[in-house]
Symmetry: C3
Subunit: 261 residues, 3 copies
């Protein structure tokens, strides 16, 4: 069975997610629909990008990801169907996709499915599901879109190195209060080489001097730094809420000083 994932800010209390699923099953019945999250903060494409970027590689080839956050278009932006690493992504060209992909996508199509007038308020249901089912039923992207070259680009704060210091920031606080930074494991490792380091936050109020492999490498209630399943530096407390207990919030700065042993 083909797989369609949903990443939206539709929430769970209303009928919105239900009718998106109904529309899919009406159009292409034999499909597995997987909720990634419907609790992206409303209109927040940075969180939407973080969520889908952290998810897609766990799914098999051919999976179709519908991104229903800010799905509306205007004169400058369009609805896109993108092929990337043998998966498909459908959503509005509002910059979110430039934050998800590390490389240029294989193919990008601007959707030309003409929306009925009444489709304007709910493109996730009325357009994205149609595009997804078109692909699942064996249709080609060319039949519902025209090739375009580029995505709308959105700048993102990336972790940077200055002298012996690596500077990043908090990009997501998860359900447990674990603190995700934008410091990638590969960047950290190549910059570190064989040096020692100290991770500082809250203006030096707290520091951590090693990277652990698991939360319970430290005693319960202790702070711990590790690389998460998204390969990003994460600051956590073993069985505790790091965001609350350490006072860390989104956009806070994280500094890592490196020095020779």
């Amino acid at each position: 069975m083909a797989i369609i994932t949903l990443t939206t800010d539709l929430g769970l209390k209303d009928h919105y997610v239900g009718v998106v699923k109904g529309s899919i099953l009406k159009d292409c019945p034999n499909v597995q629909i997987v909720d990634i999250s419907h609790q992206i903060p409303a209109y927040d494409i940075l969180e939407a990008a973080f969520t889908l970027k952290s998810s897609y590689s766990s799914f098999p080839d051919g999976t179709i990801h519908i991104l229903g956050v800010n799905p509306e278009v205007n004169e400058e932006s369009n609805h896109l169907l993108i092929e990337y690493k043998n998966q498909f992504f459908i959503g509005a060209d509002n910059g979110v996709f430039s934050l998800i992909f590390d490389e240029k996508p294989q193919r990008i199509f601007e959707l030309t499915i003409s929306p009925h007038e009444e489709d304007l308020t709910f493109p996730t249901k009325d357009i994205f599901t149609k595009a997804a089912c078109h692909i699942i039923k064996g249709g080609t992207p060319e039949m519902i879109g025209k090739p375009v070259k580029d995505l709308v680009e959105k700048a993102l704060f990336r972790a940077v190195s200055v002298g012996n210091t690596l500077k990043g920031l908090v990009i997501h606080i998860d359900h447990y209060g674990n603190v995700m930074t934008n410091i990638e494991e590969t960047f950290f490792k190549s910059f570190r080489a064989a040096r020692d380091f100290v991770i500082e936050f809250r203006k030096g109020e707290y520091d951590i001097k090693e990277i652990s492999k698991a939360y319970n490498d430290v005693p319960e209630g202790e702070k711990v730094a590790l690389f998460s399943s998204s390969n990003l530096l994460e600051i956590a407390i073993n069985k505790g809420d790091a965001s609350k207990l350490l006072g860390l919030r989104k956009s806070d700065t994280i500094r890592i000083e490196f020095y020779d042993r």
Copy 2:
């Protein structure tokens, strides 16, 4: 695969929804179960009716909708299996169905599946799933119920016209803070004819003089009126929380004055 939808006030933290699904899969394994919402406010059949009324037409023929809000029965009310527009609806005859259907259902059956004594506290799991699987396995309604003529009727405030004024009220606030009224698009359009109008709320503190086609027909942060995917007049703020920012709550009055150009 047959489709069963669930609309309940069971919430998501407990095991209740899980055991409803387990009971379905134990009885009829090859079925798609779709959650419409499990966050209907507890015991609120008006919200339950709004939710399912806004949803069912997105699903294909043959879909079975289980309505698990106030599923208990008493001497005057029974469990029903209803056929309406080639779909099935299962729930308690507490008035909720009269709020969902615009026309008389094709067929109404009072369920006669004799509940075991221990089934009384959780009919959604113990009775409704059995009725749904019976239909999916090819059974007829007659085998598990006896035909009845009428539903328990529940009165609902409908939008009304007085002179040149149309008066409705807020019936639902969605996850974004968008405000749904009980003013239907067809009623508005036939009453309006070619006249201009002004939508007033908060006792005239705010007004809107046109109907938009999409949220972003107005600048971000501006109020907007449009007909939602449920074909009801909706008052929203483009990328904002209209309920909070405009102080609109459930049951508040919305007035529309019409005048010749």
Copy 3:
């Protein structure tokens, strides 16, 4: 289709549940995944045990239950695959399973799937899904684990009888505010014999003198005692929030006095 259930404290806002499901579908595509709950309070194995103990018997033989609460292991504990009443249970051996099972499991295996180094932070995704799919694809437990004899035992407060009194406590407050105790129906009935009784709580401030069969055996707003679908004594208010209105919280004592008529 085989069934995998998920009971976790992962929450619904992050991508965590999505990637667990993606990992399953990548490994064994034709499977029904059922969420029991992802809102177990963080790290709370008592609530996890209550939830899964209340759920598993609603599922058919062969169902595989993944328990993703405190999934990390240490020197003394391991990841387990357990066969119990013709179903499978996968999770960490932290005592939670001793709280779920009333009898000794048919077979217990310590998982020997060697985790890659990067798998340490998310065993639910990286280890439990692999074990589940191994079984679904027809593999034997012996191929991924070695038999062990015992589970880590965790003591649980059980309801006790002292003279003519039965003493239990509140173990769970559900989404409606219904109050679940640890007093089992069979224990109550055998201890009661033919005697009358009074259920007392809040140090005798409130009492209930009969067991009802359904919430609406009492008028709306009235307190009611009944045996829930989990066969535990439950104290509720018909269409009300018993926890809030009666001031009952987890771990509060419930006493039942029995006396001859």
